[in-house]
Amino acid sequence: MKKFTMALAAIFLAAPLWAKVHVVSSLQDFSSIADSIGGDRVETTALARGYQDPHFVDAKPSFIVKMSRADLLIVAGLELEIGYLPPLIDQSRNDKIHPGSVGYLDASVGCDILQRPTTQITRAMGDVHPYGNPHYWTDPDNGRVIARAIAAKLSELDPAGKSTFEKNLAAFETKLAEKQKEWDAKMAPYAGTKIVTFHDSWPNFAKHFKLVVAGHVEPKPGIPPTPSHTLEIINLIKTEKIPVILVEPYFDLKTPKFIGAQTGAAVVTFYPSVGGIPEIKDYFSLFDYDINAFVSAMKGHK
């Protein structure tokens, strides 16, 4: 009997004294930041993988199961998830995570959002986002804003963990500030460099690291390369002496490689999200990897 009581006590003491906050996010970037802030008080799941086109995620019913258990849903917003998330939210049977409810966090709020249309837009422009470019987490300053928003939201959902979240947020910010110095130093020699990217995923990254996006391999957002546009890009790269073409991992490398072969520009697979490859295991290693890839491409080019 005594043994049984001891065993029972051991089970209860071993279990955490609080219920974990279940966090579901659309992107691995947000779950990585939520892990940093929440520590062992949270359990995170991301719907899209880091090597997947975040515009085209399938609305799989298995996501409904994950979302039905969530206390917090973190989304990129700006209609990045419009193709799959709204029906999943409706079917989640979980009104805590409905837009406007306490368990819904739009990570774009407070971030520096670029390319907000100021004139009438139409789909003749391709798949444009009416609320601005949704790839904003590629600016580490926005990462800081997102981390603060997540910390505030977790404190609201789990008040007992508030001091933990604040401590973890402070550690995240300290590390981010140190890392930013390192990244800025590595990128400083290339300020003003013109680049071509496959999709328009990099305005925030380019702004932060002072690169100039001169063109895209896609003629318009969401429209695959055409021969005439590819020729224009080849001419652009030749006249402007553009050294690199950055390609998101989920696009076909055929056209970028052809352009590279014609112009001598280096083709670099550039990961927009955590989890793109196993090495990119968190928000910091995302920038570590991309910046190293960029720098070595630039050095190889010279």
């Binding site: 409706d90 406007g100 907000r116 609201e156 076909d252």
Partner: protein
């Protein structure tokens, strides 16, 4: 079947939903998401001006999102059985959708043919019910099998397969007006498992006919979905439906009972999935239709289709379908068909699809046809079909 029972059931479900919604009103409504506060951020390298708001008018804030999908079909070849017009703007589907309140959303799909309008669907969905429940009330495509629950424009073909045409009352399929209640059934891991129970007025063109108020149609659907791997997933469903058919008289209520099994197997590698993917789907139907002895008594009819689709490139898909179905009112008559398809998507919002189709109808009539479909969507960005 007793008269009162089905009616009482429906009213009970409705009353339950209504009382729950009202009960919610006395509780504090969800707080708006607070804007994350706020220690001042370290000054960015260059101060950014406040972004201008997206152009909009305040009076439009609560307008529903509106979309229109045009569905044009051109047909060549000779077919004395299904005599589709040469050129036809078959459907202009207007979708009007919005959140009603913290407890519900509403969806209307008005289908404009070249002549006349049809409410294809118009329902409210209660999304905040307890007990893992989701309720829909209104007019809706019935969750019988998989294809029947989908709108024409998201099908992988320009035409409905034969078992839908022959066993579910025609191209439109089974659409019902009534109530639907769906519950998630907990399963291990992330297996999605859902039971849907539906009760409708016993009226759906070509399928059911309600002579009195107590003539209702019912449907039960159980669906399981699971991921075999990151890239491969399986969708399985089984359905049972029943309703009064047109041969009923004041004295005798005659039923049509329907059963279906559906499966969909999808392969889509996540990294390259916008360039290369494949799916295989099939459904098996059985219809048992009570008829007076003068019409041969009860007719048992079976039907099935099997269809595959392979993505050749970012915007190109090839497909094939085989199909077979008996006639619901005469189980001895059988139609069969084969088709090959090629689809091109200029963008996410338009689609051109060509189909070469051979159908052999009961009575020895063979029709070889070419179908060319053009679909185009404007307005609000809908969810991608899955």
């Amino acid at each position: 079947m007793k008269i009162r029972k089905p009616l009482a059931l429906c009213l009970g479900v409705l009353a339950g939903i209504a009382s729950f919604s009202m009960g919610q009103e006395t509780q504090p409504s969800p707080k708006p998401t607070p804007v994350p506060t706020a220690e001042p951020a370290p000054p960015p390298a260059e101060p950014t001006p406040a972004p201008p708001p997206a152009p909009s008018q305040a009076s439009n804030y609560f307008n529903p999102s509106v979309s229109v999908i045009g569905n044009f079909l051109a047909v060549a070849g000779h077919n004395p059985v299904e005599n589709l017009p040469s050129f036809n703007l078959r459907e202009s589907e207007v979708g009007i959708q919005a959140i009603v309140d913290p407890y519900a959303r509403a969806d209307f799909f008005l289908s404009f043919g070249e002549e006349g309008v049809n409410v294809e669907e118009g329902f409210v969905t209660f999304t905040s019910l307890p007990g893992q429940l989701l309720a829909k009330v209104g007019r809706m495509r019935v969750n019988f099998g998989k294809i029947n629950s989908l709108h024409l424009h998201v099908l992988p073909w320009p035409d409905e397969p034969l078992p839908v045409v022959n066993l579910l009352g025609g191209e439109e399929g089974w659409i019902g007006t009534g109530v639907s209640l769906a519950r998630l059934i907990p399963m291990p891991a992330d297996i999605f498992s859902e039971l849907t129970l539906q009760a409708f007025r016993g009226q759906s063109e070509g399928l059911f006919e309600a002579r009195t108020r107590s003539d209702l149609a019912y449907n039960a659907h159980y669906r399981v979905f699971f991921d075999l791997s990151e890239a491969v997933n399986v969708d399985l469903g089984t359905s049972y439906g029943a309703g009064p058919n047109a041969t009923s008289t004041d004295e005798t209520k005659r039923w049509t009972k329907l059963e279906a099994i559906d499966f969909t197997l999808r392969w889509k590698p996540l990294r390259t999935g916008t360039y290369r993917s494949a799916s295989l789907r099939g459904e098996l139907f059985r219809s048992r239709r009570d008829q007076p002895d003068s019409l041969g008594g009860r007719q048992t009819a079976r039907g099935w289709f099997l269809s595959g689709e392979y993505q050749l490139a970012k915007r190109w898909f090839a497909g094939a379908r085989v199909e077979s179905s008996d006639h619901s009112d005469d189980g001895s008559k059988r139609d069969t068909g084969q088709a090959v398809l090629l689809t091109f998507w200029p963008s996410e919002f338009s689609q051109v699809r060509a189909e070469a189709r051979r159908r052999r109808y009961a009575g020895g009539i063979t029709a070889n046809e070419a179908l060319l479909q053009l679909q185009f969507a404007i307005g609000a960005h809908g969810a991608h079909p899955f």
